[in-house]
Every structure is written in structure tokens, then in C-alpha cells.
Amino acid sequence: MNALAIESIGLIAPGLSGWENSRPVLAGEQPYHAAPIPATIATLLPANERRRTTATVKLALQVAQEAMVSMSLNNKHANHAGTTHPSSLSEEGNMCVRTVLASSGGDSEVLDKICVTLTEPDRMVSPTQFHHSVHNTPAGYWAIATGCTLPSLSLSAYDGSFAAGLQEAAALAWTEEARVLLVAYDLPLPFPLSERRMIVAPFAVALLLNPMTTTQRLTLLRLKPGEIQSADRLNHAGLEQLRTGNPAARSLPLLCAIAQLKTGSVALDAGHETILNMEVTP
């Protein structure tokens, strides 16, 4: 089976603000506290656009931005070629990569507003709400922000969305022999949908995948789908609650393994009674 290097990671969730900050927590070296997510995220978007977009778009773009900037910084560092800043993201030619976005439910805040409007007598759906209602809205904003015309695919597989996204991204990276940015995100649904679909907290993660097994990597990944086993659980109750309470957080056993510099196997819950197995090597 082909391998993939994970070159960089973007991460945001309560108490997990950025990959570098979170690494000691995920490695078990520091305690986990579910602190609120910072208010200003996704600074790649122009301020006026950032105000108009939803929490979902901002969460997805924040981790995409973090992963791309981090990769760029790593490469600059490796090349001793100076520094870069988040604001220069869109000007960086190598920031343009194929993307896969995975989310169980997309932007339920927008869908809730539309469904409320449709119960009102005149049903005046807001044009802005409607064009934000498509699942690929974050992908559209990301393409506009980066000026990147490479393909993007947005998908859902309910609780298996992260695993499906990882397989789609891996298959895309191998087929195209090119880097792929995987972004997985889900947010709590607003009431009353929250009564029928429990997502406990916002969680977004981005993995920059490289089909070349570069040494500039956090880990090397080999997917082994199809083998039956149970999914890895997390020792910390708070992190385990996140893992089972948000489809994007099904990625946590992989993130913990990377933080721990683990060599060995990881089993992720891939939804609908399936498991995605993989081997990791730092």
C-alpha cells in the first residue's frame, strides 16, 4: 500500500488552539482543559468578509490556513530563506493545493435560518443564506482567498466523515502525485436540530498530505482499510468525549499518535460500523 507524509497540521477545538500549542496536551504531557476557541480566527479572510461569514466557514478556513502557513514556515526554515507571515498566504505559489473538505452536516446554522424562514408566511429566504447553504461554501471561500483553481471536493459520511475524507484525500494525492489538504470540521447544531443531532463542541482539523515520503514530515501514514478491529479510545475523558461527540474529532487517536511520535497502528472509527486502520511512523 502506498504511503503518505503528513507535512503539517491545523487544529482548533476547545482547549486545542493550534497544532503546536496542542501537541503537549495530545502527547499527555500537559493536562487538557476545554478552554474556549479564540475569537479572531481565519485571518486569511478580509475583515469585512470574515464578519459576514459563518462560524463554520471560519473554523474550516482557520485550520486550512494554519496547516498551509506551518508547511511554508517549515520549508522556509529548512531552506534558511527567512520568514513568512500569514498575510502572505495567498501570494505563495505553493499554497495552492488540491483540497478535500469533510463534514457530517455542513453549516447547520444557515440551514436552521432557512428552515425558520420557510415557516414564515412570506418565506423570504435570504439570498446570502441560500448561497451559503451549499456544503462546499468553505471550499469556495478558501479558493477565493487563495486564488487557487485546483480541484476541491466536499463530502459527508455522517460519523465516518473524517475517515472518508482521509481516504478521498489519500486517493487524490496518489492519483495526482500531488499534495492534498484535508480539512475536517463539524460544529454543534443550533436548537432545535441540536435535540436530534448531538455534536458536543466545535472541532476542525487540517492535514497537509504529501504522496512523496518527504523527510519534512510529522509522520508517515499507511492506510490499511478493511481490517476489522475496534477504534482506538483516548485515555483522557475530556478528549474521549470530544472524539465520540464530533465526527471531525474521530481523528484524535491519529493526532495523539503523531503528538506522541508513535510508531505503530492507529484505528479510527470510520462510521457505520467500520474502522479505518493505519500505520504511523515519525
Binding site: I114, V116, V125, F130, A139, A143, L153, T175, R196, G226
Partner: protein, 398 residues
């Protein structure tokens, strides 16, 4: 080197023209539109729609009762046409239940169930009715989940949701998963059903026409929303199998605007060029293009520029939206099935309802059906968010 071709070994389509491929073929041949003045639920909108008859009367029951909503009823109806489900179950016995992937495109899934639930909220608490099942109706994965369960498949399954390119991109996704060895065959498809969200949404954007849609017409003023479901079984082609093949695909992002297509059709042209490159075909080798052709003034103008740039004005092209309306996330798969029907039966469909082609548009628009044996055809699908996908199909050269 051209991509390893995929064979389409079974397919089916259900839309406003009727259930199964024969209904679509007959209507395409006879120039009968499936469009009607909007009579969906209580939507009092002055527009036309492509509604599938009697979906209301066939609920999902028994162990599939949790999935019951318009979108999944439509999916089930389609799966049972043309012997499609039976053919997939035979393939399942050959490949194994976990070796056939499921890739289903949808834009709005079963949001209609949520619309109904919001109407029936508890007046005191605001809660949704107990009968509402978000996971199996509204969630984007529900039609893919129904499909895998209906067919008894246990391997990779996902919903592609990139607005109106969704069920074109499922072909590219399936190709990649098969190439990576994640599955040995694939059920691809698309399902989107009428709902108030899209009817009122497109109306709010001023994109829903009050007449039948007229793609490429000088008086075109918008689209008609339709609903449809279609499915195909993809297996690696074998020499001499005589099957229809996926020869190439191209995908791109506009990186321009959330709803407006790039005015120069840049992204659309990229998708078409990539499909040609993957198939190792020159533009002149393509005999027919099934356009996205929604009949909104700007979309058709942008696609026209893209077609002109890649193909010039001689390649015959048409939009079949005048038969079915714009079926959004199902448009990719149903227009792929139209391409296969036309290639198999030796005709190029015209552009129904269009009377006077817009003189400012230059693509080789075909107004009336032409009897013509085509070998290779392209299907275009473009969506909100600037997502573009072009597919190339053809028979094995003999």
C-alpha cells in the same frame, strides 16, 4: 498515458420524464418535456418544475422506514428501475460486500423532512416532532447510507456535496478510490429532490424562470428546478467488453465568486481541458457536448465562452435542462445517462424549448434532435462555490 478506462456496466435514471432509462429515452427522442407549472406542496411560486410523479405515494417502510423522506423515496425508486439493484447484488457476490464503494452526489439531501419538522415544532418548547429523524433524512449522507444498505454493501461509502457538480464528481472520486485499491468496483449516483429551500432560494436569487427554461435562447431568463435520481455501476474496463466507458474527467475551482460563474468561463474551460488531457483526446475528437446549460443569462454566457475557447464553434452541443429542469446535485449523473443513451442509440439531443439562439453566443448549439452516430461525448456540470466538473464518455474503439 490516458487513464485506465472504467466501464459503465449498469445504469438507471428516474426524473420528470419518468422511471427508468426507457422513459427518458422515449421523451428525449420525442421532444416531450417533463416540466410543468410549479405544483410542489404549497409553494405558490410562478415558476416551472421538473417533478417526478407519485413519489409522495411510495413511502419507505419496514427496516428502511427511518429513511423515509422525499429524497430517499426517489433514491429507492431509481435503484429499483432497469434491474439496477439486482445487477449490483450480483456484482456484490463476485467482488465481496466490502469491495464495491458507494459514491452519491446530493446538494440538499432530505432537507424537505426538516422543513416539515420546523413547521410542526412544538408551540411551547420549539422542539421538533418525535417522528423527525435527522440522521436518516436530512443529513447529507442519508441517500448514500440508504443506497449501501439497500444494495447490501459494507465498504467505503460517502456523499459528495459540491452543489450542482456533485454527481459528476462522484465519477472522479470513484476512479480515485478504485485506483488506490480502496474498492474494486463502485456504485456512483446522484439524488436531489424538490424542496422549499431550493425553490424559494433560487427564487430569492432571481434565477428561477417564470416560463419553461430556454437554454442558450436570446430570451432566456432563468432555470427551472427539477428532481432526479440516477445510478451507475463502474468496473474496470476489459478489452472487447463493448461497454460505455469513462474516458476522462476534469475538475477545477473558479476561485472567483460564491454564486456567479467566472464571466470568462476560466474554471469551466480548465475542467474541459483536463478531461481531454486525461482521455488523451483532441477537442476535434469529441462529437457532442451535453452542456450544463441552466438557462440563466450569466451561466450560459460563461459556459459558452469556455466551450468556444476549448472547442471552437463546430462541436455540436446542447442542454437537456428543457426536458428535466435543473436537477442540481443529480444533474451530473442524469446527464451522464443521457449521454450514454444518445451514444448507444445514435442521436444527439436538441435544446428543448429554445427558439431563437442568443446571437451573442457562439458555441455550436443544436436545437433539434439529430440522427448522428457519436463516438465520444462530454458532459459538463458546474456549481455554486465555483466548482466545475467535465466528464468524457465513449465506446471502446473497434
Amino acid at each position: 498515458m490516458a487513464i485506465k478506462p472504467l466501464a459503465i456496466t449498469a445504469y438507471t435514471v428516474t426524473n420528470a420524464l419518468g422511471r427508468g432509462t426507457a422513459a427518458s429515452l422515449t421523451a428525449l427522442r420525442n421532444g416531450q418535456s417533463g416540466l410543468r407549472p410549479c405544483d410542489f406542496e404549497d409553494a405558490g411560486l410562478p415558476t416551472w418544475i421538473g417533478r417526478v410523479a407519485d413519489v409522495e405515494d411510495e413511502p419507505l417502510t419496514g427496516k428502511f422506514a427511518a429513511f423515509d423522506c422525499r429524497n430517499n423515496r426517489l433514491a429507492r425508486l431509481a435503484l429499483e428501475q432497469d434491474g439496477f439493484a439486482a445487477t449490483v447484488r450480483q456484482a456484490r457476490d463476485r467482488y465481496g460486500t466490502d469491495r464495491i464503494g458507494v459514491f452519491i452526489g446530493t446538494s440538499t439531501s432530505g432537507i424537505g423532512a426538516t422543513e416539515h419538522a420546523y413547521r410542526d415544532r412544538d408551540p411551547a418548547t420549539g422542539s421538533l416532532p418525535e417522528t423527525f429523524d435527522y440522521r436518516h433524512t436530512h443529513n447529507l449522507f442519508s441517500a448514500a447510507d440508504l443506497t449501501r444498505r439497500w444494495l447490501g454493501l459494507t465498504g467505503i461509502a460517502l456523499a459528495v456535496s459540491t452543489a450542482c457538480s456533485s454527481s459528476a464528481k462522484v465519477f472522479a472520486s470513484a476512479f480515485r478510490h478504485m485506483s488506490a485499491g480502496f474498492c474494486d468496483a463502485a456504485v456512483v449516483g446522484g439524488v436531489d429532490s424538490l424542496c422549499l429551500t431550493t425553490l424559494y432560494g433560487f427564487n430569492a436569487l432571481g434565477l428561477a424562470s417564470t416560463q419553461v427554461c430556454r437554454p442558450w435562447d436570446s430570451t432566456r431568463d432563468g432555470l427551472n428546478i427539477g428532481e432526479a435520481a440516477g445510478f451507475a455501476l463502474l468496473e474496470w474496463a476489459k478489452p472487447g467488453d463493448g461497454r460505455m466507458r469513462l474516458l476522462g474527467y476534469g475538475e477545477s475551482s473558479d476561485a472567483y465568486h460564491m454564486t456567479a460563474a467566472h464571466p470568462e468561463g476560466t474554471g469551466a474551460a480548465l475542467a474541459m481541458e483536463q478531461a481531454l488531457a486525461r482521455a488523451e483526446l483532441r477537442p476535434a475528437q469529441v462529437d457532442y457536448i451535453n452542456l450544463h446549460g441552466t438557462a440563466t443569462p450569466l451561466n450560459d454566457a460563461a459556459e459558452d465562452k469556455a466551450v468556444l475557447r476549448v472547442f471552437g464553434s463546430n462541436t455540436p452541443c446542447s442542454s437537456t435542462k428543457g426536458w428535466t429542469g435543473h436537477t442540481l446535485g443529480a444533474a451530473g449523473i442524469i446527464e451522464a445517462t443521457f449521454v450514454w443513451l444518445c451514444l448507444e442509440h445514435g442521436f444527439i439531443p436538441g435544446t428543448l424549448n429554445t427558439r431563437q439562439p442568443d446571437p451573442s453566443l457562439g458555441a455550436g448549439i443544436v436545437l433539434r434532435n439529430q440522427e448522428q452516430a457519436a463516438q465520444v461525448a462530454m458532459s459538463n456540470s458546474f456549481g455554486f462555490g465555483g466548482t466545475n466538473c467535465s466528464l468524457l464518455f465513449g465506446r471502446e474503439k473497434t
